[in-house]
């Protein structure tokens, strides 16, 4: 392809995970049509591939957690969606790139209706899982736990790590 622009040079893959930071926290980067933000896993669990992560409670910057307690039908403090771990598990206490816009793969939670292409997707009840935000009874809840993207594929509900589906974060 012809060269039509001046592109950035990055010395690190967006799948890199390190014990010490390689760039400033909060650095934004565009790669492969996606936007990534560099952050720190301040949670108590590893943030595995295909899972959404939230801004860590009390965080003053781009620290996130892949763990949350959430019960459908009840109100909880707004889970501040940060992005999705798109490429590689970011272990607890490590630094890595989180996809904050673009196409990502996520997994559906069990015990919810199937996800249909076009559904709004929100944080699910189970940490690391998502759900279709199409339930009338969830409307009030969804105002607080706002959807973060739209499903580009249909997916039966499953807790299997192989059951991920593509979602677009605008």
């Amino acid at each position: 392809m012809s060269d039509y622009d001046y592109k950035q040079v990055s010395e690190e893959s967006v799948s890199a995970v390190t014990a010490t930071p390689t760039v400033d926290l909060g650095t934004q980067r565009v790669y492969g049509g996606n936007v990534y933000t560099y952050g720190y896993n301040a949670g108590i669990v590893d943030a595995t591939q295909y899972t959404p992560v939230l801004i860590a409670t009390g965080s003053t910057g781009y620290s996130f957690t892949g763990y949350w307690t959430y019960t459908d039908g009840t109100y909880i403090p707004a889970p501040n969606f940060f992005g999705v771990v798109k490429h590689a598990t970011i272990t607890a206490g490590s630094y890595g790139w989180v996809a904050t816009r673009g196409f990502v793969d996520v997994m559906a939670a069990t015990g919810i209706p199937d996800v249909v292409a076009g559904d709004a997707i929100a944080i699910g009840a189970t940490a690391g899982r998502c759900k279709a935000a199409t339930f009338t009874s969830y409307i009030t809840q969804l105002i607080q736990n706002r959807y973060f993207g739209h499903a580009m594929q249909s997916q039966g509900h499953t807790d299997s790590t192989t059951g991920h589906f593509t979602t677009y974060i605008r």
């Binding site: 622009d5 049509g33 196409f103 409307i139 605008r170």
Partner: protein, 167 residues
């Protein structure tokens, strides 16, 4: 002046429309205060000032025409990519879609209420924008998402470009 950033050099206008890609699909770009993403028109001609939606999970392919309805409809597949701000992008062509910032977009015709400045907007039929003002549309608005707020007032039959801020 101190150097606080690096600027990009571009050899193509954001209004460029080509039969073959001149950039990688999904390239992001900032121009005139707006953000653009480079994409491919997989549907019919997308006239200037129309909303386009993504069509596939594989990348930044979009269409302007889609089947949906007015009223309390929980539309499927209305994943808004952005607006054809600068030029018509013909079917099968590549171009820049404005994804953030100040844009002009055509308002829906009949069957919807007039748009008042400040109204929350959602995507309507065939690339038009329409006001979210119906109580019965709460579910649809949540599912589809408010894409911006009108900066101008228009009528139900207005088909001209209307200014709004695309979030």
């Amino acid at each position: 002046m101190s150097i606080y950033d690096q600027k990009s050099l571009w050899e193509e206008s954001v209004s460029a429309v080509t039969a073959t890609p001149s950039e990688d699909i999904g390239t992001h770009r900032y121009f005139g205060g707006n953000e653009y993403i480079y994409g491919y028109n997989a549907g019919g001609d997308a006239n200037q000032n129309r909303i386009v939606i993504l069509t596939a999970a594989t990348g930044y392919s979009f269409v302007v025409t889609y089947v949906t309805g007015t009223g309390a409809v929980l539309d499927k597949g209305n994943t808004v990519l952005g607006v054809t701000q600068n030029a018509t992008i013909a079917a099968g062509y590549y171009g820049w879609i404005c994804t953030r910032g100040w844009v002009d977009v055509a308002a829906s015709g009949s069957s919807v209420v007039a748009i008042a400045a400040g109204d929350a907007l959602i995507n309507g039929l065939d690339g038009f924008v329409r006001s979210y003002t119906f109580t019965s549309e709460v579910t649809a608005a949540i599912a589809k998402g408010i894409i911006g707020y009108a900066a101008q007032t228009t009528t139900t039959t207005g088909v001209g470009a209307m200014r709004f801020y695309l979030r």
